[in-house]
Symmetry: C3
Subunit: 132 residues, 3 copies
């Protein structure tokens, strides 16, 4: 964790665009949120054309959501989400009114990687020394 | 935001049914939760027959979940979820024991549309005047 | 609810493996979290090879997430997630560094099954007597 999920219409993103988004989101999350790159997971999901709606009108809706460990300051999360918006808008070419970006908090105590409960934000180094 | 996600077995919903659900959910959310229709996003996802389980038995599970801005009263959310159930049951024709409907809260401060952090519930008009 | 969602690369899980995971997760959730098996929902989702990333590198990422009713003790949730990890690792054969398992809490008051708001954890028997 984090787990970022990108949901776009089929065919919107090329393999190259996905790779670029993965690289940029991973770097950004690591720098702003302080997690090691190995924690950053991204899955690209798609839906068939016609299955996304805004204001009840079909459109090319592009959603980037992140499930992140709870405990960062509001300022940190604002910086993260603002930067995510900018990179996702540029990388996808999605229309501004067809985009949604958000972060949801999950307690670190309810999250496992490498067979171990994740550390609270700020305690990654000790955890990695044992489980990394 | 809200982002509503409908997950049904492949083939359960026609394009007409999806359009109807999108219209009804958008209208309902706007009336009950007070958000402008332009905030209401819906994506229809599917899974192959056989990949949904209840009590470890394969079945035609239909799930409608909404990620909504935090801050509405319990009464408002109860009204919303009860009405969602009724419309989704009618529109999908899903069996009552194969349905799940729920709402999860996300802080408005962690959500972006139109390149801007979303307003708290009740402050949509000011936001739309600037970003809408 | 709970709603467990398994997300794996296409082709990773056979029908037999999915059935086994469904049985084990349902049994475990019922024993540890105290919910009746009829509440336990599982959906298996997949993504095309190449669309999952860890540390910006493409890999066979396998994610098991559970949306569960809020209100269990930290000890109960720790036991649940630890056991989920063990069963999911064994059942999927996923690499340890390509796995993520987590639980997110949703208020029971915002969740419906059988046309009724779900009970708080510990009050399932009364609810089932009326709605089961």
């Amino acid at each position: 964790m984090p787990l970022y999920t990108s949901i776009t219409p089929e065919g919107m993103l090329s393999a190259k665009q996905k790779q670029l988004i993965a690289e940029q989101v991973t770097k950004l999350h690591s720098e702003v949120m302080g997690a090691p790159p190995s924690f950053v997971r991204i899955i690209f999901q798609t839906y068939p054309a016609g299955d996304g709606f805004t204001a009840a009108k079909e459109g090319k809706l592009a959603v980037l959501s992140g499930q992140v460990r709870m405990g960062r300051s509001k300022e940190t999360k604002t910086k993260m989400i603002t930067s995510l918006w900018t990179l996702y808008e540029k990388a996808t070419g999605a229309s501004k009114d067809q985009m949604l970006v958000f972060l949801a908090d999950v307690p670190a105590t309810q999250t496992m990687e490498m067979g171990a409960i994740l550390p609270e934000p700020g305690h990654e180094a000790e955890w990695l020394a044992v489980h990394g």
